[in-house]
């Protein structure tokens, strides 16, 4: 992540504070910063969302756009399922070291993390419903995430934004017909309905997971670490939890130390508790975001920035 240099006394202050239950900004160890969510701001994309964790100017900001494309099936691919392709890019506006190829490593890591959570049946989406005609055509959902600002807790922001974007995605309706060709065989053809009103949501998106990242500082762990706390983190564990409170993915990061198995089990229990609250909060924010764009503000260029 961004290399924040902290003096030994600052590091000590944060570590000891966390061990006593105090965080630099007054939060509890299981409290998340305020989250701002907006959906459907990109008209060219099938679905989009922007999520900021932290307040304006000092938060992690992620913009996710979903584009759906129809792909032709080629031998070797699964015969009756669609696919989700994730791609994360860190914009140089987030940090100076992201310019040029500086963010390459981080992009690959974040892309694979998103891929582990969302690409496949563990995401809760019914992949077979994304197939249009078996062995012929299927939907590919391109999840493109753009990281605009990094102030700690990047994975969680990515997952929140991706979940909101997928929830708001509307796919054009497809009409499949069987046509008899010259040999009398039945060929399937499909037609994408080009009507902006006639669109369907993706099936199973309510089952998408949310992630919680636990950072170990000293002997205790915190969630949603700020930049300073991340600089002091020795090890972290990202856990993705589904609305049914199942663990969808778990990944350890940080190369300085490991967790004792007892702490690991404590973290997993906390993950389940925290996830329950997070889903409630997400639902609240998502509903607010959905009703926001129905508002009476004139849509100008500055609305995109100003509303956030």
């Amino acid at each position: 992540m961004t290399s924040l240099i902290l003096s030994p006394s600052e590091q000590d202050f944060i570590t000891r504070g966390v061990e006593k239950g105090f965080r630099a900004d007054g939060r509890g160890s299981l409290d998340r910063r305020e989250v701002t969510l907006r959906t459907n701001m990109i008209s060219q994309a099938n679905g989009s969302a922007r999520c900021r964790i932290g307040h304006l100017g000092l938060g992690t900001d992620v913009l996710v756009g979903i584009k759906a494309e129809v792909n032709t099936w080629s031998p070797g691919e699964p015969e009756s399922s669609g696919s989700i392709v994730c791609n994360v890019e860190c914009s140089p506006s987030a940090a100076q070291e992201f310019e040029g190829r500086g963010a390459e490593d981080l992009n690959v890591e974040l892309t694979q993390t998103l891929d582990r959570m969302f690409n496949g049946p563990q995401s809760g989406i019914d992949m077979s419903k994304l197939c249009i005609i078996p062995k012929q055509a299927y939907w590919v959902l391109h999840v493109d995430a753009l990281v605009l600002d990094v102030k700690g807790g990047i994975v969680d922001a990515l997952v929140w934004a991706t979940r909101a974007a997928l929830l708001s995605t509307k796919l054009p309706r497809v009409v499949v017909e069987s046509v008899a060709d010259e040999d009398g065989n039945l060929q399937c053809e499909f037609d994408v309905v080009d009507d902006a009103e006639d669109q369907v949501a993706i099936e199973g998106v309510e089952n998408l997971p949310l992630s919680v990242t636990f950072n170990q500082i000293g002997k205790c762990f915190v969630i949603d670490a700020s930049e300073q706390e991340e600089a002091v983190t020795q090890a972290s564990l990202t856990v993705a939890v589904s609305p049914q409170l199942e663990i969808c993915a778990a990944q350890k990061g940080g190369f300085l130390r490991g967790f004792p198995p007892s702490l690991l089990s404590e973290i997993m229990q906390a993950a389940r508790r925290v996830a329950r609250d997070e889903f409630a909060k997400f639902k609240e924010l998502y509903v607010a975001a959905a009703s926001y764009q129905a508002g009476d503000e004139p849509s100008t260029g500055s609305t995109f920035l100003g509303a956030f």
Binding site: E246, K252, G258, P260, R272
Partner: protein
Amino acid sequence: MSGAVQDRRRINGPARSVEPIYTATPLDTSLAKGRSDGRGLDHMRPIYAKAGPIASTAQTTGSASGSAFYEQGSIRISCAVYGPRSGRKTNARRAHFECDFQYAPFACNSRTHTQTDEHEISLFLSNTVGPAIRLDSYPKSSIDAYVTVIESDGKMATLAAAINCISLALADAGIEMYDTVAACSMGLRGSQWVVDCTQAEEAECSMLVAYMPSVDEVTGVLQNGKTSLEMHEQAVQACTNVCVRVYAVICRALQASLE
């Protein structure tokens, strides 16, 4: 073969080639008759581990500081460790440890270019084996581990084998460590966790745990797929127990290399 310039002196092969499509034989995925190789549900494949260069007569002068060859069933991995040496990314307080993970082109089922996968696995390996090394003992230097998968059989199992191989190579290189890291993988078949799944047995949900037994620390957890919290905890517990057995094998291989 370039399409533009054609070699007219020889009989050219096809300009484009594709993989053969095998007709899929129905796989018996139930465990009712036990596993295909007759192992128990909590048995790992037999392990052969050797510290030292692959060619037994080779001297280690001028080449890697430490190396290891690790076999687990039909998984074959070799690892070479270079370091501590001067490196590009130097930190004044500790060594910079980096793993480079690479599949040989013929290692997997299909000859696809899995570069993004390799990069992420390299990062994961650095994070998993890193906690074991006393990085503070080697400030301003760089320790690199280069892992080559010669043959792969089951993605999570290959990852676990790679971790074991790196630990062995690091110890062979004489790098100061807190403990060797032992790893094992499990797959969820129905409601049962099965240890060390091969490619054919691999399921939707799999788990990998890397553990340091002497220090009692889990240095790496990786879960693919969905499962309940109770099953997850059960798996971590079971993996930790198997890791202790793998640890014994690695230690014995190290002792053998000293004789």
